[in-house]
Amino acid sequence: MEVFFTQLTNGLAVGGIYALIALGYTMVYGVLKLINFAHGDLFTIGAYLGLSLLTSLALTDHVGAAAGIVILAVMVMGLVGVIGILLDRAAYKPLRTSPRLSAVVSALGASIVFSNTVMLVYGPNPRVYPQGILPTQVFEVFGLSVPVMRFVILAASVILMIGLYVFIQRTKIGTAIRAAAIDQDAARLMGINVDRVIMLVFFIGPALGGAAGVMVGLYYGQIKFTMGWIYGLKAFTAAILGGIGNIPGAMVGGLLLGVIESLGAAYISMAWKDAIAFFVLILILIARPTGLLGERVAEKV
C-alpha cells in the first residue's frame, strides 16, 4: 500500500507538469482550432531561458530562493509569451485563411526551427541548472516519505491552472476569449478585437509552457534541447484525454495521464508504460469521443 501511494504521488507530480503544458495546447486549439505543435519547444525555450537568467542574474542570491524563483518564473513567462506572439505572427497569422493542414505543417516546421535554434545557441549537450536552490527536505505524511518539492510543483501547477480558469471565466477579457472561441465572426460583430484576443492567447499559452519549463529545469536539473518533443506529445495526449479546447479538461487529463503512466508502469509493465497510457486514451475516446470533459466534438485536423 505504501508503494501504491508513493507511485500515486510520483504520477501526480509528473501529471502536474503535463497539465500545465496541456493548457497551452488547449487554449490555442479552443480559439483557433489549431494544434500548435511548436508548443513543446516553447516549453524547452522556457527551460533554457530560465537557466540563462538564473545563472546570469543570480536572483536567488539577492532576494532569497522563493522570491528569486517567482521573479524568474514571471520573467521567463513574459519572454516565452512574447516568443509565442512572434510565432503566431510569423508562422500562423499568414495562414489564417488557408486550409487547416497548412497551419499544422507550419507548426511542425516552427517546432523544428525552435529546437534546432536552441541546439545552436546552447549546444547539443544536456545543460544543468545550478543545484542547491531548492529545498531537498523529505515530507513525512501518512508513513510516506515524499520530497517536499513534489508538493510545491503540484501546488504551483494547480495555482496557475486555477488562476487561468478564473481569468477565463470571470473577467471581461476572459469572456472575450470564450466568445472568440465559439464564433470569431460573431465575436467581431459584437465589437471584440479578435486579433487582440488571438495575440493574448498566444501570449498566455506559451507563457504557461515557459513556466513548466522553468519548473522542470529547477526540479529535475537536466534540460535537453530535445525534451520538448516528449513532453509536448504527452501534454497533447493529456489535452485530448481531458477534452481539447477545455481548460479544466487539460488539468484533469494531465494529472490523470501522469497517474495512469505511473501506476501502469508500477503494476502492469514498465516497458509498456507509454503503450498503457495510449491504450487508456483510446478506451476513453471510444467511450467519450470528445474527451472526459469535452463538450464540442473535436474537429478533425
Partner: protein, 374 residues
Amino acid sequence: MKKLLFLVVAAGFIAAGPPAAAQETIKIGLMCPLTGSWAAEGQDMKQIVQLLAGQVNNRGGLLGKNVDIVIGDDGGDPRTAALAAQRLATRDVSAVIGTYGSSITEASQNIYASAGIVQIANGSTAVRLTEKDLPYFFRTCPRDDEQARVAVKTLMENNYEQIAILHDNTTYAKGLADETKKLLDDKKAEVVFFNALTPGEQDYTTILTKLKSVNPDMVFFTGYYPEAAMLLRQKRDMGWDAPFIGGDANNNPDLVKIAGKEAAAGFRFLSPPVPQDLPSEQARDFLSSYREKYGSAPGSIWAVLAGDAFRVIVKAIEETGSTDTDKLADYLHNDLEAFPGLTGPIAFNEKGDRVGDVYRVYKVNAEGSFVLQE
C-alpha cells in the same frame, strides 16, 4: 546557336570535372551523429577525425594524395543513418568510419556492405553486428559480451546476491543486459529485477520506487549517461542508498554535472579507459594536439575510437598501397598486428571484432572525478 555551343562546352566541363578531382584525393567517409541526442559525441568524432586527417595531410598525405573527410550526419537515428549511408556510398569513399549507437550502425551496415565499402564502427558494441558474416565490417570498440563478462566478474568480486538489471530497450543497452543476465545464470547471484526505462524522460521515480520495493543489493544500469544521472539524482532525493553500477555508456563527465557530485559519488561504471587515462605515447601526443586545437580534451573514449578507426584505415591504405576494398579488408583481418592505436594495441579477428582486453572499472569520487579502480 552560340548559346547552345556554350551550354555543350559547359556541360562537358561539368561532366569532366568530378572524376578529375576525385583522383587527387582519397576520400574517407565519417558517419556520426552531428544532431539528435548524441550530437555531443558526433561533434567530438568529427573534430578528432578532422584533426587526424589534417595531420596526415601536413605530413604529405596518403599515397601522395590528400585525405578528404566526407561527413554524413546520422542524427542518432536509424532512418537518418540509412539516408546518410546511401549518400556516403555514392560519394566514392574508400572506407567509412562510424558510427556511435549500435542500432544506428545496424541500419547502415547492409548499405555499405552492398556498396562494397569497408566500415569501421567506433561506438557500436552490440554483439550481433559482427555475427552477420559481413566481410567489410570492423569495429574498434569491444563488444557487449566482453563488457558483460567484466560486469559479471565485478559483481561476483563484490559478493552481490540480489541483482537488479535495468536497461533502456536500445539495441546496445538491451544486448548488454541480456548478456549479463545470461552469464549470471550459473552464478550464485539471483537476478531479482530485469526491466527497461524509457530514455529521454526526466522523471524516473516510478521506476526507482519499483526497484526499491524488490530491495536489490545492487543495480546494474546498462543504458546511457543522461538517464543514469537522473536515476542517481532522484535516488538520492528518495533517500535510497543502494549501489549503482553502470555500463560503458556512462563514461561521460556530464554524468556528474547532471547528477551533482553528491548524488554521483560512489557510482561505478565499466569502460575502456577515459581519454585522459590513455597510457600510450600516441595518445598523449594526440590529446595535447587536440587540446591545442579545440581547447579541451575529448569528452569520451568513443570519439577517440573513431580516431583509431581513421588511423587503422590510413595504415591499411599505406601498407596495401591501394584503396581496393578487398585488399583493405584482407589486410585488416589478417595482417594488422598490434597496431599502436590511441586506445592501445589494435588487431581484428576474422569477424572484424577488436582483439584484446580493454575494459576497466571506474568509480566516481567525492570530487566528481572518475577514478580508475584496480
